[in-house]
């Protein structure tokens, strides 16, 4: 017999060992997420995937699906709070979308649109962050890092390297590069590494590829992030 959970009243089958987000994605139900990518071990830090399971808030990307869970996902309350969490990420760093190379292809921005974010709501931190343009082919703009840990995991789990670590505590978190100078050029990253492609925002970019696609035809110009995420993640 098939085991099932229910999300917003819809019955969804799952296999033992699947997380809620895995079961949902396979069934074509989108749960917002930023630090989750099905190729990597879940992290559970951005909290955008928060759903209500039998009345309790849980992270869908880490929480295992179990028989009979009654899950709320797309409720006004959750969407409202997810918007505020997204706004927190915007004010924490320095995101100037109109001039950003990643504009239109950025998951943070895409999520902002999806959640009808119209302003930043919270006061800005104006964090003093650096730009690392030392590498001939890659660029890190620390202003745009949301500490999702995906580059860290991709480097470890796919590339068999250890190029990145997130260090620091609290609001002083920072992405650290594993090299004697702390600069990307002295690390063993290569432009083809998964870690170089994975960033959901414009924090890690390939040089000389920016603004190639005109406005109107970029990834999230044509479709919303829910549709694209489901397409991409079910293809894999």
């Amino acid at each position: 017999m098939n085991k099932t959970i229910s999300i917003d009243g819809k019955t969804i089958p799952f296999k033992t060992g699947q997380t809620i987000i895995e079961a949902a994605t396979a069934a074509g139900v989108y749960i917002p997420h930023l630090c989750h990518n099905p190729d990597y071990k879940p992290h559970g830090s951005c909290k955008l995937c928060t759903v209500k399971i039998n009345g309790r808030n849980c992270s869908a990307c880490t929480f295992p699906a179990t028989e009979g869970q009654e899950i709320l996902n797309k409720t006004p309350e959750l969407e409202n709070d997810r918007r505020k969490i997204t706004q927190m990420l915007f004010v924490e760093g320095n995101h100037f979308c109109p001039s950003c190379e990643q504009s239109g292809n950025c998951q943070l921005q895409g999520l902002g649109y999806y959640l009808s974010m119209k302003d930043n709501h919270f006061p800005h931190f104006f964090a003093n962050r650096e730009l690392d343009a030392s590498h001939p082919e890659l660029l890190i703009d620390h202003n745009r890092c949301i500490f999702c840990n995906l580059c860290v995991r991709a480097s470890q789990q796919s590339d068999g390297k250890n190029v990145f670590v997130i260090s620091g505590r609290g609001i002083n978190k920072r992405l650290t590069v594993n090299s004697t100078t702390g600069k990307l050029k002295d690390s063993n990253i290569s432009v083809d590494d998964c870690a170089a492609q994975i960033c959901p925002t414009g924090a890690i970019l390939k040089k000389r590829t920016a603004y190639a696609v005109p406005i109107g035809q970029r990834l999230y110009d044509t479709k919303k992030i829910d549709e694209i995420a489901l397409e991409q993640e079910n293809k894999e």
Binding site: P42, C46, T62, L89, N162, S167
Partner: protein, 593 residues
């Protein structure tokens, strides 16, 4: 330098789980952890240097830049503030001729604030090179400054500077008398392990660290896991501001605590235990080692304990300054030599704990109580207290009262009774359970000490009518922002936003919508954070906003909106650059209405 680190790593078997231990030694010897040291360690321990940097940056007592040879931290608990810490800190800085938060140019001394050091009954307190200084006053500061300027070695300082008192004022079942060494283990073996777990069940004992999980159930779950290895961990991180009872237990009742750990090990089948001791309690380290050595000698630890074919060892591991390491899964990460970032759950520590093996984590007082129960039996324990809260609870009482110190009460005791006993007068309210707990007003003194009413890990801070609510709320809110581990968005960003938003109101820049915005933010941080720290970080604001909304409202300006952005302050750099100081170089935030 390389030789020292080489030997250090050798002594720790080149294992990265000992990273904190190793870094502590380097920090103590060289006053910082240099890039070069990190490279050497990286090679010797075979871990990435970034991993080491992430540990150094995470803990308050590790530094990438040199600290003074005399490194002073002043405790920033609200109780220290109430005892005049701020003016003393300024006095201290003036005497030392340095700026608070800085290292003096000659590198001799540094002075900074740190979170509560667990000496609230004898503050203002602090740490010098890791060792506690208490009851600071100007005379004491003068003495200390003198010793520093004459570069007297810490070992040669008068012991009185480092005196720490137990201040036990009221004893009951547990504190009345420590058990005889070995008594609980003998009783356990005589009765049988399963029968003793049954007694623990009957006792109804719940964890004393705050969350109140049933102890027997935790031990049983852990013992039922399929695994060849298991661990027992005693949580002596005691970071909740206003709590210091575990310090006293480890000073005076350590034998009984270790005995509780050992009987837990026997019951669940663990061979290795850890005492995770907060860095601030370094002064207890050597005496605890003596107690352990004595227990090994008497065959109460080690191999074949009391000829019962049971092996168990206890190792003490010191923290390095991080409140979050009291959270059990963060504590386990820290034991493994990593930054203290709480894990995802499930799995819980009883299933996957230290090195992913089943692990029981209990508070110091829980182990103390378990040892007592092994002797007197579950019924005798359950007789004390009330239905869902059996036995007694240790309180660390501080703040405005005549006798701050340790008190043991049966659960169910009223707050009024407690206040009477410690000599508290004209009370405005009490913070029960520390910043993460609840503030109760003087209209609520008939409430009771109990899991079903006012639960507390032990912190009990009293405020009299002269105190201002917003002072304590501000202190607590800043504390959480400082201690957030930064893993999850709602707490990392949210606690700092709470701090900004609260300060905006307290400093008189708030306007109509600001209290509502504050409350909304509180709910967000509370409902979406990953662990207990974020989930309780808004409690100080929420519990006082509920009781004293008028205090918050009275701080608001009559205008409808004021931006968080301080226009005039932001112009400071421009004024400096333009070398202007005329009235035209200053702008009002909003037009006068």
């Amino acid at each position: 330098m390389k030789k020292f680190i080489q030997e250090l790593c050798e002594k720790n078997n080149f294992q990265s789980v000992h990273l904190l231990t190793i870094l502590r030694k380097i920090q103590t010897k060289y006053f910082f952890i240099s890039k070069e040291d990190i490279e050497i360690l990286s090679n010797l321990l075979k871990i990435e240097s970034t991993q080491i940097i992430s540990v150094v940056e995470f803990y308050s007592f590790f530094h990438l830049k040199p600290r003074g040879h005399y490194d002073i931290f002043l405790s920033d608990s609200i109780t220290d503030q109430m005892l005049g810490q701020q003016s003393l800190a300024n006095y201290f800085a003036k005497k030392l001729k340095l700026q608070l938060g800085q290292v003096r140019d000659d590198g001799l001394v540094s002075l900074a604030y740190t979170s509560c050091t667990g000496m609230c009954d004898q503050g203002p307190a602090g740490l010098i090179n890791g060792y506690p200084i208490t009851q600071l006053n100007k005379a004491r500061i003068n003495t200390i400054v003198n010793l520093i300027e004459t570069q007297t070695a810490i070992q040669d300082w008068p012991r009185s500077i480092f005196t720490v008192n137990d201040n036990i004022y009221k004893t009951d079942l547990l504190l009345h008398q420590e058990i005889t060494q070995g008594e609980a283990l003998k009783a356990t073996f005589n009765r049988g392990l399963i029968a003793t777990l049954d007694e623990l069940k009957q006792s109804g004992l719940r964890g004393r660290g705050g969350a109140g999980f049933n102890t027997a159930m935790k031990w049983q779950f852990c013992s039922e896991e399929q695994s060849s290895e298991r661990y027992v961990v005693c949580n002596a991180d005691e970071g909740e501001p206003g709590t210091f009872k575990d310090r006293v237990l480890l000073n005076k009742y350590a034998n009984q605590v270790f005995e509780g750990m050992t009987l837990c090990a026997a019951i669940i089948g663990a061979e290795q235990g850890f005492l995770y001791l907060r860095a601030e309690y370094l002064h207890l380290y050597s005496s605890l080692k003596v107690v352990l050595a004595d227990r090994y000698e008497k065959n109460l630890l080690g191999n074949n304990i009391l000829q019962k074919n049971i092996n168990f060892n206890i190792e003490i591991r010191l923290g390095a300054g991080a409140y979050i390491c009291g959270e059990e899964s963060a504590l386990i990460e820290s034991l493994e030599g990593k930054p203290g970032i709480p894990r995802n759950r499930p799995p819980y520590p009883v299933v996957e704990g230290y090195l992913n093996k089943p692990t029981v984590v209990n508070n110091v007082e829980t182990f103390l109580a378990a040892a007592k129960i092994a002797i007197i039996g579950g019924q005798a324990f359950a007789k004390i207290g009330i239905k869902k809260s059996t036995g007694t609870k240790l309180l660390s009482i501080s703040g405005d009262c005549e006798r701050a110190g340790i008190y043991e009460y049966p659960f169910g005791t009223t707050i009024r009774q407690i206040l009477d006993d410690c000599g508290a007068k004209n009370v405005l309210g009490v913070q029960v359970g520390g910043p993460s707990g609840t503030f109760i007003s003087n209209q609520e003194f008939d409430r009771r000490l109990a899991f079903e009413d006012l639960a507390t890990g032990g912190s009990f801070i009293i405020f009299n009518q002269q105190r201002h609510i917003l002072d304590l709320v501000k202190n607590f809110t800043h504390f959480f922002a400082h201690e957030s581990c930064g893993f999850c968005t709602p707490c990392r960003v949210g606690t700092s936003l709470l701090k900004k938003q609260l300060d905006k109101i307290v400093d008189g820049h708030g306007s109509a919508g600001d209290v509502v915005a504050l409350e909304e933010l509180c709910q967000l941080v509370k409902n979406y954070s990953h662990c207990g720290l974020g989930q309780t970080a808004a409690n100080p604001i929420l519990s006082t906003l509920q009781r004293y909304p008028e205090i918050y409202q009275s701080k608001l300006k009559a205008i409808s909106y004021e931006p968080g952005f301080d226009l005039n302050a932001s112009l400071a750099t421009a004024r400096q650059l333009a070398n202007r100081d005329d009235s035209g170089a200053y702008l009002a935030q909003v037009e006068d209405e």
